[in-house]
Point group: C2
Chain length 125, copies 2
């Protein structure tokens, strides 16, 4: 009973993931998320509770569904750089990812992703 949800949580999380990957956690504003998802603040908050909740759900979902995709790796690094030190819940998620990571050389995987994100390798200008 009650009004029907106008969106599918899993589809919204894909959009949210892209935004966090693009701008980082601190660099992402709620306005960014509102614009990208097409939802209003209230809907996002009733679905995820907080900006942190949105990030945690995005990270969890990506870890669950595509352990070594570029998006997952980027979310993992953002979590490690910006959140893990002060957030135990996120630290636990990262431990799980680390344990289950298929890669044989995690360090190199992470380092390569950081370097790629910087854009210092391509196009001389």
């Amino acid at each position: 009973m009650g009004r029907k949800k106008s969106f599918q949580q899993s589809e919204i999380l894909i959009i949210i993931s892209d935004v966090f990957v693009k701008y980082g956690f601190e660099g992402t504003s709620l306005d960014d998320l509102v614009k990208a998802t097409g939802l209003l603040r209230g809907s996002l908050y009733s679905a995820f509770g907080s900006k942190r909740g949105m990030f945690i759900d995005a990270l969890s979902e990506n870890i669950k569904q595509q352990k070594d995709s570029e998006i997952t790796i980027n979310l993992v690094i953002i979590a490690m750089m910006e959140l893990a030190a002060k957030d135990n819940t996120i630290r636990q998620l990262l431990k799980q990812w680390y344990k289950e990571s298929a890669s044989s050389n995690v360090m190199e995987l992470l380092g390569k992703a950081v370097l790629k994100r910087s854009g210092i390798l391509e196009g001389g200008e």
Copy 2:
């Protein structure tokens, strides 16, 4: 002539570097920098121009003076993750660091630092 500076730019940059390493770029507020340095906003701005200027000077100075220290590596990763994509000046600094980096395996160096920063390896709890 004129009033004497009450601080040494190079000493302030060491403090500023520590703050940026601790909180990241977006995660660092001017209040954080004011508290840590003991200087007031006006002094910081007349010395460095902007928050971005403070970061750039901190990064440059560290790259110049201790190419592979933990602080330098952390500043480099923060720059790569949060700033490089949209800031050409920072991208150039990072290219210089990359070219002159003494390490034989930069990817692994970066990845190891990210992993260490996350804190997921130590202390089980």
